[in-house]
């Protein structure tokens, strides 16, 4: 088996296990997300969905199983039947292609919105400042914040901060975007603007894995819905079908509470 397979799915995980001490958070997650698909991960809190997302870009090390992103094994190199841990530098390179948006935004508070977006392309990829500035400006305009370029994060509302965070992740030209409950820390009136930015991104063909409680978003732009509980995938399929007709008891009761 080779490490690179550019025609295959964007995300493929096989039997992913993860424990924190004695607590087994993930108990064998199998998932395939094709290129250009939007995968929505639903589930009650503590079901392991955020942990799973963090495993995808190796912020958490998995205990068993395999994660393939864009045809490359994440965090390891296989030679024969032996696995070799990758050096931090190589893992950092893998992460460049994977954008991540956090529940608590995690913008850099000592930098302006524009500087937040420019930071990684400048420091990590070493691109020219003029190019990066132009692209960062365009990205901020795309999320509707062209006039906030010189604002610091604490001068922005939660929804604006989250849109800057999306622009910041996009500045690295990722092939895959991970969203970890991107609207959970927002006031209800600000959720819409962030979801709209994400919907635009989905329509442009970005491959996305979104952990969220927004059923409407799943129904509207989702290609695949994965319902997790207790560290396993309980049910998955077309979002509209699963939401209309959940097969599993656990899915039914969860959806009844959220809808």
């Amino acid at each position: 088996m080779t490490d690179v397979d550019p025609t295959g799915p964007m995300v493929r995980t096989v039997g992913v296990h993860k424990s924190f001490g004695r607590l087994e958070v993930l108990r064998g997650i199998d998932m395939v997300v094709e290129r250009g698909q939007v995968c929505v991960v639903l589930g009650p809190s503590g079901s392991g969905k955020s942990t799973f997302l963090r495993c995808l870009n190796h912020l958490e090390k998995i205990d068993a199983g395999e994660i393939w992103i864009d045809g490359r094994l994440v965090g390891y190199r296989r030679k024969g039947d032996k696995l070799y841990e990758l050096h931090d530098k190589v893992i950092a390179e893998q992460r460049r292609d994977i954008g991540m948006v956090f529940q608590r935004f995690n913008l850099f508070p000592h930098m302006t919105a524009l500087q937040n977006v420019m930071e990684a392309p400048l420091r990590v990829k070493g691109e020219s400042k003029a190019d990066v500035r132009e692209r960062a400006g365009a990205l901020l305009a795309r999320v509707g914040l062209a006039d906030k370029a010189t604002s610091y994060p604490n001068q922005l509302s939660g929804g604006q901060q989250q849109r800057v965070a999306i622009a910041r992740a996009l500045a690295m030209r990722p092939k895959l975007m991970l969203f970890d409950e991107p609207t959970s820390a927002l006031d209800p009136e600000l959720v819409g603007e962030v979801l709209d930015a994400m919907k635009d991104l989905a329509r442009e063909g970005m491959t996305m894995v979104v952990v969220t409680h927004e059923i409407g978003f799943a129904r509207e732009v989702g290609d695949l819905l994965v319902f997790m509980d207790g560290g396993v995938v309980v049910e998955s399929g077309n979002p509209r079908e699963v939401i209309a007709n959940p097969k599993h008891e656990r899915t039914k009761s969860f959806l009844a509470k959220v809808l």
Partner: protein
């Protein structure tokens, strides 16, 4: 609608505060009386000798050692703190041992040791290790393969030895301060930097350390003040171009030590007061963008919505 009437109430009385003020006034008067009437202060002698060229050169030395020791101490301290929080167990261990050693040994002892390193190694040389022993194996006596040799005393003068030992000691304390500062930054910050593909070094330099400064600066001001005072320990190296050494030398020469000790108190009070002013402005600068500033921004936002200005 009519405005409600402003409150007119009798304030709570604090008679004991007045008693305390009276008591302190009496004590102060007694103290001043003693300063003026006790002949042993030799005020005239003290003022004549506390500004001599030798004392001012000593003052320069004191300030120079303070500045150099703090610069090297902070630089090395940051490195030790980064090593302490590193995932690399070797670096963590070395950093722990460093902090352990330099915090355990009192500065005065450290200064005595560094001032007398020439007893241990009269000459320092750079060359092939074990050269004379290797020579013996091959039957050559006195094989010397050294690039250069210097006398320890000329390389490690009192001034340099004193500065180095104070800097090494300071680095251990600064490392703990920097570590606390780095740990006060939300872990989500380093995570966001990591998720963007930054290396640990980039994340620390660009994201974590700038935010840690707010926590690091105030105790660093205290450390600078402590360092200024600890330069008086340089007498044990010994270093002669130092304030306290010069003042006590004058005291011994004229058999009037006490007035010169008072002079030392006044000098240190004066320099520390200047440093305190600097610290006040530095802290105010680095508190920006935090709480008060945020509150101001929020207030101006609310006022803006209501069509007014703050």
């Amino acid at each position: 609608m009519s405005q409600p009437e402003p409150i007119r109430a009798v304030p709570v009385r604090h008679p004991w505060r007045w008693v305390a003020v009276g008591f302190l006034a009496v004590l102060t008067a007694m103290f001043v009386h003693m300063l003026v009437t006790n002949e042993n202060f030799h005020w005239r002698f003290m003022f004549r000798h506390m500004f001599t060229p030798a004392v001012l050169r000593g003052l320069q030395g004191t300030i120079l050692v303070t500045v150099l020791a703090m610069i090297f101490g902070i630089g090395l301290g940051v490195l030790v703190a980064i090593a302490r929080l590193s995932p690399n167990p070797v670096l963590r261990g070395v950093s722990w041992a460093y902090t352990w050693f330099f915090r355990a040994v009192p500065r005065i002892v450290l200064l005595a040791v560094f001032g007398n390193l020439n007893i241990l190694w009269p000459n320092l040389s750079l060359g092939v290790p074990f050269d004379t022993y290797i020579g013996k194996i091959f039957g050559v006596t006195d094989l010397h393969m050294r690039l250069f040799t210097v006398e320890t005393r000329s390389l490690l003068t009192g001034f340099i030895a004193g500065t180095i030992s104070l800097a090494l000691s300071e680095a251990a304390y600064m490392a703990e301060i920097v570590r606390a500062g780095m740990q006060s930054v939300d872990p989500g910050q380093e995570e966001a930097a990591t998720a963007l593909g930054m290396s640990r070094g980039q994340a620390l330099r660009r994201v974590v350390l700038p935010q840690a400064m707010r926590v690091i600066i105030p105790p660093t001001g205290n450390e600078t003040i402590a360092m200024l005072k600890d330069t008086s320990l340089l007498i044990y190296v010994p270093v002669t171009t130092e304030l306290f050494y010069q003042l006590s030398a004058i005291g011994s020469r004229f058999f009037l030590p006490f007035p010169m000790y008072v002079a030392a108190c006044l000098w240190y009070l004066a320099i520390v007061s200047v440093l305190l002013v600097g610290q006040y402005y530095l802290e105010r600068h680095f508190a920006r963008g935090h709480r008060t500033e945020q509150a101001r921004i929020r207030l101006s936002g609310i006022a803006g919505e209501q069509g007014g200005a703050v």
